[in-house]
Point group: C2
Amino acid sequence: MRFNVENTDGNARAGILETSHSKIETPAYMPCGTTGAVKGVRWSELEEIGYRLVLMNALHLYLRPGIEIVSDSGKVHGFSTWNGSILTDSGGYQFFSLKGLYKIDNSGVSFQSPYDGSKHRFSPESVVDSQVRLGLDIIMPLDHCAPGDASREKIKQAGERTVDWLGKAKNRFNEIGDETQALFGIFQGGAHFDLRNEYLEQSFKLDLPGYAMGGISVGEDREEGEAIVREITPLMPSEKPRYLMGVGLPGQILDGIQSGIDMFDCVLPTRMARNGTLFTSEGRLNLRNSRFITDDKPLDPECSCGTCKRYSRGYLSHLHKVGDPGVLGLLSVHNLAYYKKLVTDARDAIKGQNFNKWKSETESRWAEGVQ
Amino acid sequence: MRFNVENTDGNARAGILETSHSKIETPAYMPCGTTGAVKGVRWSELEEIGYRLVLMNALHLYLRPGIEIVSDSGKVHGFSTWNGSILTDSGGYQFFSLKGLYKIDNSGVSFQSPYDGSKHRFSPESVVDSQVRLGLDIIMPLDHCAPGDASREKIKQAGERTVDWLGKAKNRFNEIGDETQALFGIFQGGAHFDLRNEYLEQSFKLDLPGYAMGGISVGEDREEGEAIVREITPLMPSEKPRYLMGVGLPGQILDGIQSGIDMFDCVLPTRMARNGTLFTSEGRLNLRNSRFITDDKPLDPECSCGTCKRYSRGYLSHLHKVGDPGVLGLLSVHNLAYYKKLVTDARDAIKGQNFNKWKSETESRWAEGVQ
């Protein structure tokens, strides 16, 4: 994996991330194909939008269909037929959603499958093993992400554990990792500046090829989370890609870019699309609003995605109302195209030394709202 | 609308049906886009398979989003963006599924919307009005389709009513119909040869541009239904397209073609695909069978559809198991491609005076089953 920052504008950076599967322009948003596909979307549609890097989830693939099956079926690329780059999250964050079904200790996590009740154990090492076998481009280590409203003590414990596990993950990756793969670091620390500083220093000493800030947008006070991103990002190594995990809405993406983040993932654009909420150049559009049934305009007249090129708000609103499964993909395609254009425009603005002005103009247009 | 039979082989016919929107090779199967879309499938995918004619349902469009909305949004073609030909069923058959919510009498049907309980009245005339406003290529009249296990008396009543309504529909269509549109006739009569003969003669006197046999595969004894298709089809006017409504599975399609049917529709290929049942050159494949998770072959190695060109049984089986909405479309694409190839191969066999031999060979391969 290679990464080069080509331009900066304040803290914002425009770069190129290169894996053995593709070159990715940064800042980059990664569509979430958690279970091995972006829900309802054809790979050809992602390719057409211009995506070259997607996120999947190693825990989900471990549970269904299983690491061995994927590994024996040409690894994730061969199995899924996605030919771009793939980053997998380890599942550390997902253990939140298995409430009561997991138990975390200093050496790993024990949990039950929500599908068949079977018992499993993840360690920092086993999670690297799985992801190496999956053949990923970028591997995220097992981390412990405490909820945003947890006590300082709990956040401290989780943050220290995350640093400890990162060392173990690195050792394991050095033993078995493939040179076409990259293990990133994650650091935690909640909304506590001193803890964040401590863990980032400790994890940066491990000299991994990229670093991710975890534990943002996990229930902490919003302004405190924003302040952490703003203050801590510039302290992350400038020559390596910086990844803000699980964030966010378009405004959060632009804030992150302004602070110097290079990579984002978030399920919201696709999940909200499936629920009928679309992002447009004029702000959000709620397709469930009955007035759109007679609206022959595309979702966003400024968008050139496959959905906007062909379909009207009226027809899409009808399909959403009657529950056609295909419309979930058509709407997701639009939101993903919107996110791609957003980060591409941001990149152009950075290269033109115009990022802050472009950011305020873009945000003020959202405030107008879809007429 | 124009129709020409170009070749015959026994009773089987190869022809061309031409509407103002497209030329369609017959025998033709029509994918069902009941609510204005083929569930989960992109129009571009249907176009790529080579479909030029789809079926929609005027009752469904009447209820949601409403005739006026569609009519004001560029009629069905403009609203849906499907640029090929469209035939709509009137909804006569669908009244079955509104059990208890409809009441039929000699001048029409009163029913309640299953969505909001609102009350509606359909007459043979109003159904023509709606379909003319929708801008369809082929309009099916309101018919009364009695269940296959109904008494002779009930089937007689429904069959006479259907003939009576057809006359009324024709009168209305002559007043308001567009020259780019065609009103087809429907005749009923259940599994009673004498009734079928009587109604077909009466309806043929109305000299409509195409005729449909209704009331087959609606619960009658299977062999009796097959005998009706076999004996009655050759009595339908030979210079006009013959449409067997709602039938059927691949074997029933081939039987229908052998008897001289030119057009078919059936929801089964798409509904079964969504449930994980695929048609292949070697017979049916049940994707829910756990052995397919490690199978890297395409659904049908002889198929060249977008799904078979890219995806393995293993990956599709995984997506089906995790409930990805996109796989419903990918599987439907395959079954629709299978049906298209089936009728295209049948057409080639008819042109080569080889239909019966090709039919037996094709059917015997199905018996082998997918290994």
